[in-house]
Structure formats: structure tokens, C-alpha cells
Amino acid sequence: MTGMELFWTWVAAFLTLSIYSFLYKDNPFYKFAEHLVVGVSVGYIFTINWHQGLHPYLFNPLAASWEHPYNLLRVIPLILGLLFLLRISRKYNWLSRFTIALVMGIGCGTAIPPTIETRIIQQTKASMINIIDQPSLWAGFCAVTILVGTISTLIYFFFSKEHKGILGGTARLGIVFLMVGFGASFGYTVMARISLLIGRLNFLINDWVIGTWNFIAG
């Protein structure tokens, strides 16, 4: 480890501990780290955005538009982008509506068919199972359980009818499935979260404490 590397390790360790101090309570160290990371991250995004967004998608193609006149089309999003910047003006901020409307139109139009395909058709197909033709009686039972669970969950999301009678009963069954599913997801995630903590502690112990010790000891 060089002296410079040691310095940066100390910086990282200091900031790590500053964030952890928030678990006790809000304090100047946390406030410092928080305000620092906000500034650094916006600066980073801005720079990366300039060099990996504006350069390859706007500046470079426009500069090459003598050879590829087609690239001039990109003037349109440039203008729309500039219109959007008029947000800060009291008088002309309505012009930014054009930009937002276009972004929304593109987003919504693009999204409808894939949403229907992946979230609706594919899931519907996955629910159509041959409940007789299963390798074992147990597998058949599981298949039926999934089928019943899917339908009752779907019924829980009925909005235009009061949840009473059969509808209410099925919706309640749906809640049972929802709650078991949520519990399972919660329990399943614990491991990944603990891993993150182990990772940070490894950094503090191995890189920082032992690293510094090795640096001093030679």
C-alpha cells in the first residue's frame, strides 16, 4: 500500500463511520457526509452525463451532420430540451409542456404493448397448467394451489364491487396469499442485506485497520 492509497482508505473509512453514526442519532459527521455525497454525486452525474450523454448523442452526431445530414434531426430534441429549460422562467414556462408531453407520449405509447405482453399475457399463460398431467400428486396439489392463489389475488384487486359474499371470501383468500408471499420475500432478503454489512465490516477491518497496521509495521 502506498501512502496515497492509505490516505484514500482513511477517507473512505471516515465516511463509512460517519454514515454509521446516524444509527445512533443525527450528528455533524453524518450531516457532513450527507451533504458531501449529494454534491459529489450531482457533480459526477453532471460530468458523466455531459461526456457520455450529450457528447455521443448530440454534439458528435451534430458535428458530423455534413456527412450524415440525417443527424440534423437531433436538432429537434435539442430545441425541446432548451424549451424545457424555460421552466425557470415565470412567463414562458408553459413552453416546457411541449417537451413533457412528448416525453410522456413516447413513454406511454412504447410501454403499453410490452406491459400487456410481459405482465398480462405471459403471466396468464403461465397460469394455464395441466393439473392432471403432473409428475406426482404433490406436484398436482402445488399446481392447483398456484392457480387458486393467482386467481384469488387477482380478485382481491377488484375495485368496482364491494368485497362481500363469495367475492369477499375469495378476496380474503387472496390476502392470505399476499401476506405469505410478502413474508417470504422479507425473509428471503435478510441474507443479502447482512452480506452488505459484512462487506463494509470487512473493509473496515481488513483494508483500514489491518492495512494501516501493515503500513506502519512495514
Binding site: M179, V190, I194, L196, L201, N202
Partner: protein
């Protein structure tokens, strides 16, 4: 009763301290809780374990970046230790620029534990070469042309370990450690095209995606996440960070379960002694 009331109104910072202790304690004082070795991990272990000492090298590719180090570095170390302890030659490389430092770290860490083995003869670090799949393909055509020098700048021709390495035929097995689809590229080219045996170590989330390759025999073996690494450490008889990590996982999980149970015991035991208003706070379940 007092204790139960205390539990109910316990400051959550006590929970934080307990969690921190549950994770730190095994790091400082390993418990070595029993670990059950699965078939997938054993297959990779067997594939390496049966290799003769000082013959064809194992190729290890470190294709991950710092964000997945907690899960993947322990398994890289475990596989390297296995090879070093059996004096099987190892060539370490990476296809990711961010993996270069990690690959070198891993190799140097393990190398320090085996001073009887020497760099260049028993192990080598080839560093990062840009090109990704082209590099993987290049090894199949001509190893030394793909890696004219090692990761320290020494010409490859001067490394005895590489003297007999022409292409994948001279690699006993390649093991890829990754949090991305890199292992699929190794399978596609190194295995499908050149017939090299491929093993993989991936993150826990990705493990299930890799099962089909294992069943079809395209992967020799598979390590998944921290538990896969811990199982490998058990097989080589050298409990390391993954075993400790699994200790921490077990204790933390049990801690949370115990907390939930205690919380419920306290909740029900004190129910009669509490003001009714206290129980009337809206909570989950009610919202569904």
C-alpha cells in the same frame, strides 16, 4: 413483567447493537458452525482435486468489480488455496478492467501463504487485456500471442508455467468468478468451441440462472454466493471469510427470529396490562 414492558418499548438502537454484535463477533471469534456441502460445489471441488500436481495449469478469471467482492472474493480465494495446496499450477486473469486489482490481490494473498511455490513456475498473473470475448477466443488459438506479457510486464516467454500452454488443450480447467453473464461467454467459446472444461462461481441471485448449464454438463461445477464459498472452504478444510460470513449470517438470522418471538411474547403477555389506546395504532395487516 418489567422486562416484557422494556422489550415492548425497547429503543431500536439496542437492536442495532445486537445486529452489529451478531455480525462482528464471528468475524473476530469464528464459531465454525456446521456447513452442509451441496452437490454443485462438490463437483467443482472434485474436478480440481483429481488434477495431478505440477502438470496442466488451472485458469482462473476474476470477472467482477468491487461491488460484489463480499460474495465473490472468498470463493476465488478458496479455489486458489485449493490449487496452491495441491501444487496445481494456476494462471490468474481478468476480462474486466475493474477486476485487475482484485485478481492480483487474490493471487498475492494466497501466494503469501505458500512461500514454497514461486511466481512464474507455479502461478502467474496475466492482468487485464481489453477485448473480452476476443481474448477468450484468442486463448483458444494462441495463448502467448494473446498474452505477450504478464500483468507485471514480464514477457510471457520468460514464464516457465506458460512454456507448455499453447491453447485451451493445455488448460486443465478454467474457473470463472463473476456477477455478470461472463461465465456464459466462457461456456460459449472456451467450452463449446475449444472443449475446455469450465467451472463457475457466481452471486447468490444469479445461481439459479446457471443451473441449466450444470445439468447439461456445460459447467463442471458451480459455487453460488457466500454459502457456496463457505462450502468450498469446508471441502478444502480451510475455513475463511465465507465460513465466518455464514456464521454471521446464521447468527443474525437467528437473532432476528428470536427478536420477533420475544416481541410477540411481550406483546401478548402485557396486553391486559396496557392501556387500550396503545394497541389501537394502525399496523400492517390492517392495510391489506
Amino acid at each position: 413483567m418489567k422486562f416484557l414492558f422494556f422489550l415492548l418499548q425497547m429503543d431500536r438502537r439496542i437492536v442495532f447493537v445486537l445486529v452489529a454484535l451478531a455480525v462482528v463477533a464471528p468475524l473476530i471469534m469464528p464459531l465454525n458452525l456446521p456447513i452442509v456441502v451441496g452437490d454443485k460445489v462438490r463437483r467443482l471441488y472434485d474436478a480440481i482435486d483429481q488434477l495431478p500436481a505440477r502438470s496442466r495449469p488451472v485458469l482462473v478469471s476474476v470477472d467482477y468489480d468491487p461491488s460484489t467482492v463480499p460474495e465473490l472474493q472468498p470463493m476465488t480465494l478458496a479455489v486458489l488455496r485449493h490449487c496452491f495446496s495441491k501444487e496445481i499450477p494456476v494462471i490468474v486473469t481478468t476480462m474486466f478492467p475493474t477486476g485487475a486489482g482484485l485478481a492480483r490481490d487474490a493471487m498475492e494473498t494466497v501466494a503469501k501463504e505458500y512461500p514454497n511455490l514461486s511466481y512464474g513456475t507455479d502461478y502467474a498473473y496475466m492482468g487485464y487485456k481489453p477485448g473480452y470475448s476476443l481474448v477468450i477466443l484468442g486463448i483458444g488459438e494462441n495463448f502467448q500471442a494473446t498474452y505477450p506479457s504478464d500483468g507485471y510486464g514480464t514477457p510471457s516467454s520468460k514464464l516457465p508455467i506458460l512454456k507448455n500452454v499453447k491453447n485451451y488443450d493445455d488448460i486443465a480447467i478454467m474457473v470463472d468468478f463473476t456477477a455478470s453473464a461472463a461465465y456464459e461467454v466462457w461456456i460459449m467459446f472456451a467450452h463449446q468451441k475449444y472443449g475446455c472444461k469450465v467451472g463457475a462461481g457466481v452471486t447468490a441471485v444469479m445461481a439459479s440462472d446457471a443451473y441449466p448449464y450444470l445439468n447439461s454438463g456445460q459447467l463442471e461445477g458451480l459455487l453460488g454466493g457466500l454459502s457456496g464459498a463457505a462450502e468450498y472452504e469446508k471441502l478444502i478444510g480451510a475455513p475463511g471469510t465465507a465460513t465466518i460470513g455464514m456464521d454471521a449470517q446464521s447468527i443474525a438470522h437467528i437473532l432476528i427470529i428470536v427478536l420477533i418471538i420475544l416481541g410477540n411474547v411481550a406483546y401478548f403477555a402485557t396486553r391486559r396490562h396496557r392501556e387500550p389506546a396503545q394497541t389501537a395504532t394502525p399496523q400492517q395487516g390492517g392495510s391489506a
